[in-house]
Symmetry: C2
Subunit: 290 residues, 2 copies
């Protein structure tokens, strides 16, 4: 797995460099909001979404350092960060820690956390527009709105403390987590200019690893230590949130995750050796629990 | 003034028709968020921003019913609504009423108000992308981010209960209110394809009426009845917010508003008769206090 770790490190570096370049400096007035935006964006995420964009882009013949790909990964990390800041708010999941650091509304104020999230969202679209590619804006906006991430978040919140069917849990995970991950893969493919057939297979790959990612997150929420996770263990259970282990059991959850990764591997067989990094990225998602 | 009232009604009708067409139906799952988005978007705004887009577009030779102009006005109203929903939140201005109706977090929940605002913002950019015009996305995103509306909102909140200079108040108003209004005028001009010289004059017009709009709002906050205003009179003062009347006095505030409108009229003299509606729109902003 050292190859994938090297790749993730390489992507993290270029993601941070691009974010450094496109995010407003902390010294620009009003400083507080720019500090919050950078505090949350540089909070130590693994940059898995940028890795999926760039790995797909390269697998489909794109160049690693392509400027439009770099703008896209910066925008996607800003949008992902925006969603985390708002998710953590007292009126939402009410989390005090994220990746071992105080959440934005704890480190700053609640008002600034709302506005900082808003600003990251707005400015991400400004950065995406610099690519000149409205198809990318469509792709990403659709994955985030009420046919994607927001829909998943709404149903997640409205289901708290209620009995939840596996079907509803799948809906939540598919929208809240998988939609943006699928969009990352599709953006990498669109930037490289792939055929409709290849795009369909890569979309299926994105679906599978996106759902696997959230199933693994559910498993980690039960099994890890607080230190490993950077947030309170079992916090989903305490909030009355349904998870895969709570509905189908731990063993079946691990089997589902494994099956999803196997499906993802099948989807990218057509890439041959060029799909090596995408193959390893799928495995990396699972190894977080092995 | 009946001519301008007819124009505003005509724009309100076409704005509502376009919003009806682009906003997700209330019957789409998850229904709650779609209900909130429509509740707040159709809360009875005067559609002044769409009027500025369409009037500028027409004054510069564009066609009233141009599809890209319609998509733009719908997106702008969604973005304006997103900003109002988040402004009204308990951690922000903590307002219970807006245009005489309970605010979104009062009529629904705080979590849904955060997410509904987010969704309106995200989906507005999706709708803008349908125009294929990345320059419009740039224009609008810049007017809303931390070089525009959000910056004004941050300084507004951080200045509450503190002595505020006229310079700071101008910064707040210029960013929180004037930036988007200026962007509306510029978008109308960009859609019609004007010269750089005309764009500069129209930008100045947008600046002047944008600032006048907020000065008039400050005056109305002091002078109107609660019924006329749809929110509590003097609520800015109670919150310890600086206003033009609180800093320069009521008479001077009215003079400033009048001078700004006179400046706006000068800026659009080059349009001749074609600028009649823009001329009347500027006057309409002032007549709200006369």
């Amino acid at each position: 797995m050292s190859k994938i770790k090297d790749y993730l490190e390489k992507v993290a570096k270029v993601t941070d460099e691009t974010l450094e370049r496109v995010l407003p400096s902390e010294s620009i007035y009003p400083e507080s909001i720019h500090k919050l935006m950078r505090y949350s964006t540089f909070a130590g995420g693994k940059r898995i979404r940028p890795s999926l964009v760039l790995a797909t882009h390269e697998a489909c013949g794109g160049v690693f350092n392509n400027e439009n790909a770099l703008l896209t990964i910066a925008a996607i990390e800003m949008l992902h960060t925006f969603s985390l800041i708002h998710d953590d708010l007292p009126c939402m999941d009410d989390d005090d820690f994220r990746r071992g650091k105080p959440t934005a509304h704890k480190a700053f104020t609640e008002a600034l956390a709302v506005l900082g999230g808003d600003a990251l969202c707005i400015e991400a679209f400004e950065i995406l527009s610099r690519t000149g590619r409205v198809d990318m804006i469509q792709e990403i906006a659709k994955s985030l709105g009420t046919k994607g991430m927001i829909a998943g978040q709404v149903v997640d919140i409205e289901s708290e403390g209620k009995p939840v069917t596996l079907e509803t849990l799948q809906y939540i995970h598919d929208n809240k987590t998988a939609a943006l991950i699928r969009a990352c893969v599709r953006c990498g493919a669109l930037l490289a200019g792939v055929s409709d057939e290849a795009l369909a297979k890569l979309t299926s790959y994105g679906n599978s690893i996106g759902l696997a990612f959230q199933v693994v997150d559910d498993i980690l929420d039960e099994e890890s230590t607080t230190e490993q996770l950077g947030k309170t263990v079992g916090s989903d259970r305490e909030k009355g949130k349904a998870t895969y282990p709570s509905i189908v059991g731990m063993a079946e959850s691990k089997k589902i995750a494994r099956d999803l990764i196997n499906q993802a591997w099948k989807d990218i067989e057509f890439l041959g050796d060029k799909g090596a990094i995408l193959h390893e990225l799928a495995e990396y998602i699972i190894t977080r629990i092995n």
